[in-house]
């Protein structure tokens, strides 16, 4: 992998680049999932765009039309309220055909063999770009970035994956106009974050795309050290351009204080987040919950409230997870649907303890772990023992520890969390919140955005936005 550019070097804008419209630099932000899409990645995208705007950039976000998100997790307009009004949003009429639920829109062939039809579509999408489901979006995404650039010349393309097909549009703009780019790779592509190791070989079509695009990237952001290390090892020439930009949490999502638990009335355990882990994991937690309730009178009168998105398309709120939750209603498990961003802090404020259910292992951190850590509540961990969330929670005074997914051990964790919820002192809760303070989203993103700004403007990267916002130091 040969890079022709030094890491984060200031650019000489030349070649076929189009003239700037004004004095402010312009960043095109390819962010499929930008608010109001009700997706967990929307928080990071919103903060990234806001920080660029605050740093003096004109920002044009390219995402999908609102209707497209109806097929997936829907919309959360309260998320849009926090978007800097100076940001321009381009919405493309792309949508996932596999999530279509209107049978009138189906062909006869699809109606006869719905699954085979989707598999056939995926094979075709792979011909366009080596990413199932999204590969077919390549032409539209390429056209969109070129159109935006021709209309308002970009100084930087910020691209965030997934979907990885964004890399094709990124490359096209680079090929035609040499617009420099930063890849916010988040969970990476060639790294198998669930199973560990490589998801595909370097000489596969996806491998060739990844290597080619990353070689010219000014910076590559990842959400944790294990993923960053994977890329530093896979592409040694990229070593100095890979940096960790943790997801962090939004300060307005956590309550200023927690309410006192009332053991006489029972406790409320809460889960908030997309239910995107395996049904088996959810079942292990529900089994542990039942066992713990049988054994502990306090838990027997407690509730477990699950909030978040479940399933998409035809399976939205009608999949195996939903079945498990409905069937657990008799054990005081309640599913209340997704929460709007604006309601998140209030939910943490009325819960007594949290249940952190996560897929994967050492390559996965998640976004919700930071919020959980900052909530000042006891946290029950339901994930693999060797998991990056454990790195974030290590030292948290109200964490019950990572015990794996064995229901027997998880039942013990529920009991410990219940005790902590009742007995934790104000000092312990304050210490828990202090433990997480370094993980605010702003603090995580600020140095990375400042570096990207420096790439274009030549300004020294600092921890301060151009509009005077004070930004705390982040983590490399």
């Amino acid at each position: 992998m040969q890079s022709r550019l030094p890491p984060l070097a200031a650019l000489t804008l030349a070649g076929r680049r189009r003239p700037r419209r004004g004095a402010r630099p312009h960043v095109i932000y390819l962010a499929i999932g930008f608010p109001p899409a009700a997706k967990s990645s929307a928080y990071r995208m919103r903060e990234t765009a806001n920080q660029f705007a605050a740093a003096g950039w004109d920002v044009t976000v390219i995402t999908l039309a609102d209707e497209s998100w109806e097929r997936e997790y829907g919309l959360d307009h309260t998320l849009s309220e926090g978007v800097d009004p100076r940001i321009v949003i381009e919405r493309l009429t792309l949508a996932r055909a596999d999530l279509e639920t209107d049978i009138r829109a189906f062909s006869e062939a699809r109606s006869l063999h719905p699954q085979q039809w989707i598999e056939q579509q995926r094979r075709q999408e792979l011909q366009t770009f080596p990413e199932p489901v999204f590969g077919g979006w390549r032409p539209e995404l390429e056209k969109a970035v070129l159109r935006v650039h021709r209309d308002h010349a970009a100084d930087l393309l910020m691209t965030t994956c997934a979907p990885y097909v964004n890399l094709a549009a990124t490359w096209r703009l680079w090929q035609e106009y040499r617009v420099p780019y930063v890849v916010d790779f988040r969970d990476g592509w060639s790294v198998d974050v669930i199973g560990g190791g490589a998801a595909f070989a370097k000489d596969s079509p996806a491998g060739r795309w990844e290597e080619k695009v990353l070689a010219e990237a000014r910076a590559v952001w990842c959400v944790n050290e294990p993923i960053a290390d994977f890329y530093r090892e896979r592409y040694p020439t990229l070593r100095d351009r890979v940096r960790v930009v943790r997801n962090g949490y939004d300060e307005d999502c956590v309550p200023g204080s927690t309410h006192r638990a009332d053991p006489a009335a029972g406790l409320t355990f809460g889960y908030l987040g997309s239910i995107n882990f395996s049904p088996a994991l959810l079942d292990s937690v529900l089994t542990a919950w039942r066992m713990a309730r049988r054994e502990h009178p306090l838990l027997a009168k407690s509730r477990f409230e699950v909030r978040g998105h479940i399933g998409a398309g035809a399976l939205r709120e009608a999949n195996a997870h939903m079945e498990l939750l409905r069937a657990a209603a008799g054990d005081s498990v309640e599913f209340g649907g997704p929460l709007a961003k604006a309601e998140v802090a209030a939910a943490y404020g009325r819960w007594d303890a949290l249940v952190l259910m996560l897929v994967g292992g050492r390559f996965v951190t998640s976004g919700k772990v930071y919020e959980y850590a900052a909530s000042g509540l006891p946290v029950v961990s339901a994930h693999e023992i060797d998991h990056d969330a454990a790195t974030v929670l290590a030292g948290h005074p109200l964490w019950t520890g990572a015990v794996g997914l064995d229901p027997r051990r998880l039942a013990d964790s529920f009991a410990v969390a219940a005790r902590l919820a009742v007995e934790a002192t104000d000092e312990q809760r304050a210490a828990a919140r202090a433990h997480a303070r370094r993980y605010t989203r702003r603090a995580q993103l600020a140095p990375a955005v400042a570096e990207a700004t420096a790439v274009v403007t030549g300004a020294a990267a600092t921890g301060h936005g151009s509009d005077g916002t004070s930004i705390e130091g982040g983590q490399a």
Partner: protein, 711 residues
């Protein structure tokens, strides 16, 4: 009021979700109809929640039945059955929302939508919920132009014409695959070339190869079938397509009662797919592994024939399984956190007997330890437990748990089994089947785990689903079953293997000691004829040879007969047996006696007891017959005949014969006179009682359960 018609093509997977949605629809003022393959009792719907219309699986209309027979797609068949139903047509005409509950139902809803342009047509109960709510709130907007109705009607006509043309073409294709064509060298070569033609779309190649393969098998040309499949498989790039084709062909041949010509290739292809899926999709990998194991251990090759490739060449037969990473993940020993503890001395030993199989072999054991001081006995038959019974019927769940390391199924087993394991000092699981596999999904704590393997399990996938690192002692009923099982299951010889014991079945043989009438001397008996492995036709062949010289010999077949519905190969064996019986029964040469409870009574009428089986672990009925004073004649069970251990090492040498001719010779000699016959019978009875009676064998069980003489 909003009228919602829900079409169901498969057993609802999310029952609670469906019931919740129905209640919500009702609360929103909707009326609901449900049609399709739906069992309203299983759904446990509240009365008045919905009108349920279960479509008959076999429609009364013969034209519809013929049409359905020609349709390969379940989704299309569901539509035809639904539209033939007047109740459904009435509902469709007035429905506002048409809902497909599963993918099989999508086509029926699609067709209904062409005929009811006003209605919304949606996939999934969640999407239906959003439409019903929007209709109730008045926010629902439908913008379908009138032209859409016209094009829908025109589409119905066009599709009907096209379908008729396709049916005609398909029938022509079938004619070109007639047995006569495939038997000819030119016809065979033509089809083999056709499936391997370059540029053929994969879907077409797979469909064509499948048809040619099965037709070739039916035409008696297995080599052509194998060659066709090999030619097609070489052109198929995807592991999944390849595995699907080979597995489907193998399943088709098994349905025909044949051992698939490409069984090894099909298993290897399915395992290759599993291995590809293993790193990222363990649950899917487990599904492929289970599919491979079901093919490998299908009843047709091992139980419904007179030979088994597993018995003949175990290493070669199991080689694909040994080579698979997914199968190795399945077999990874998990061990136990703590070793089995010495039971507390200050209270009775808690002994739990558990099985989900035939409880017949536990009777004496149960009775003895229920009466033994110092032992507290519990007995659990999983079929009687409402929670455990369904768990025993889910081997796929066991495979998934073992491969993935966690599963809903495993959690259910843990919840159910844990209190029992915590109670017991010693857990004895009879039969190495589901109950045994479920047991080793759970770390037994400090409970000692003992299991017993009888016979058929060795030819099934069950021992491969048992984690023997969590078993302390494994009991066999004979040396030859131990030897074969150890060859088949590597975990029984590894470092974490259980202690192995051979203890004969527990039998009270003294109750068979009854006087025999002189007429019994010429009465041959075979007890138990409900499996092909018992090979009653071998006994009939012995009878024929005897009756060629002396028509006083007759054969009594005792017990229930074969179930010809079990498989096509059983049906074929049954047909041949029926022909034998039609010839021999009218003269009284063969007498069939169905199931009897009074076995000692029946045995008192028999002078010779036969074991004609191709495989047995012990053959209790033979030993009981010997204990009654009948002369035992044991076929050298062919599954074990070439091995170091078998019938010849289990029984006295003079009991065992190699051929029907030798059997006839032994019987003639042993029944030459009444004195000789009675002396032979008395010797056999003496040996049986002295060796295998419960009064002798119980000491082995005491040593197993109560080591050191506890109790």
């Amino acid at each position: 009021m909003t009228k919602v018609l829900i079409v169901v093509g498969e057993r609802p997977q999310q029952k609670s979700v469906l019931l919740e949605a129905l209640r919500r629809f009702r609360d929103q003022g909707a009326s609901i109809g449900i049609v399709g393959d739906v069992d309203s009792d299983a759904l446990a719907l509240d009365p008045g929640l919905a009108d349920v219309r279960a479509l008959p699986a076999e429609p009364a209309d013969p034209r519809l039945r013929r049409a359905l027979a020609r349709i390969p797609q379940p989704s299309r068949a569901l539509w035809l059955r639904a539209w033939a139903d007047p109740w459904t047509r009435r509902w469709v005409r007035t429905a506002d929302v048409l809902v497909a509950l599963d993918s099989t139902a999508v086509h029926a809803v699609w067709e209904m939508a062409q005929r009811q342009p006003r209605a919304d047509a949606c996939n999934g109960i969640g999407a239906a919920g959003r439409i019903v709510r929007a209709r109730q709130e008045g926010t629902h907007r439908v913008a379908r132009p009138a032209s859409e109705r016209l094009s829908a009607r025109a589409g119905i006509v066009v599709r009907g014409a096209r379908r008729a043309a396709v049916t005609g073409a398909r029938e022509s294709l079938e004619a070109a695959m007639a047995p006569a064509v495939l038997r000819s060298r030119i016809g065979g070569r033509l089809w083999r070339s056709a499936v391997a033609a370059p540029g053929l779309p994969e879907r077409v190649r797979v469909a064509l190869a499948y048809r040619v393969h099965l037709r070739s098998v039916q035409a008696g040309r297995p080599s052509l079938a194998a060659a066709t499949t090999a030619a097609a498989a070489d052109r198929i790039g995807g592991r999944k397509s390849r595995a699907d084709l080979l597995s489907r062909e193998a399943a088709g041949e098994l349905d025909l009662g044949q051992v698939p010509v490409c069984l090894t290739e099909a298993v290897a292809a399915e395992l290759a797919l599993a291995d590809e899926l293993l790193p990222r999709q363990k649950a899917r990998a487990a599904k492929s592994l289970y599919k491979a194991m079901r093919l490998l251990f299908h009843r047709v090759p091992h139980f419904d024939q007179l030979s088994s490739p597993l018995a003949e060449r175990p290493a070669e037969f199991l080689a694909p399984l040994r080579a698979s990473a997914t199968a190795r993940a399945l077999a990874t020993p998990r061990g136990r956190a703590t070793p089995a503890a010495t039971p507390a001395a200050d209270r009775p030993l808690r002994l739990l007997l558990m099985t989900n199989g035939n409880a017949h072999f536990l009777q004496e054991i149960k009775q003895r330890y229920a009466e033994t001081p110092g032992v507290e006995l519990r007995y659990l038959h999983l079929a009687d437990d409402p929670v455990a019974a369904p768990l025993t019927r889910n081997p796929a769940g066991i495979v998934e748990h073992l491969v993935a390391g966690q599963s809903e199924y495993g959690n259910r087993v843990e919840e159910w089994l844990r209190p029992h394991v915590d109670w017991a000092d010693t857990l004895f699981v009879d039969w190495c089947v589901a109950a045994a596999a479920m047991t080793t999904l759970v770390d037994p704590g400090d409970t000692r785990v003992v299991m017993r393997l009888h016979s058929f399990e060795a030819f099934s996938y069950w021992p491969h689903l048992i984690d023997f690192s969590r078993v302390d002692d494994l009991v066999f009923v004979s040396d030859h079953l131990r030897d074969l099982t150890c060859e088949v299951v590597p975990a029984l010889t590894g470092e974490q293997a259980p202690r192995l014991h051979v203890i004969p079945n527990a039998m009270d043989l003294r109750r068979f000691d009854r006087p025999k009438a002189p007429s019994a001397r010429f009465a041959l008996g075979l007890i138990g004829t409900s499996a092909v492995a018992k090979d009653p036709r071998w006994a009939i062949e012995v009878l024929r040879r005897l009756r060629a010289d002396d028509e006083r010999y007759r054969l009594m077949l005792v017990g229930g007969g074969l179930d010809p519905k079990a498989s096509e190969s059983v049906r074929r064996y049954q047909a041949a047996l029926s022909a034998d019986l039609a010839e021999l029964e009218p003269s009284g040469a063969v007498i069939r006696i169905g199931h009897v409870d009074d076995v000692p009574g029946v045995l008192s009428d028999l002078g010779v007891i036969l074991s004609s089986s191709v495989r047995e672990s012990f053959h209790c009925a033979l030993v009981e017959g010997a204990a009654s004073g009948a002369v035992p004649v044991v076929r050298d069970w062919p599954f074990f005949a070439g091995r170091e251990t078998g019938a010849r090492t289990l029984f006295p040498a003079d009991w065992v014969v190699g051929t029907p001719a030798e059997a006839a010779e032994r019987i003639r000699a042993a029944t030459a006179s009444e004195d000789v016959w009675r002396a032979e019978g008395a010797a056999a009875a003496g040996h049986a009682t002295k060796t295998w009676d419960w009064s002798v064998v119980q000491h082995d069980f005491d040593e197993l359960f109560l080591p050191g003489g506890r109790g």
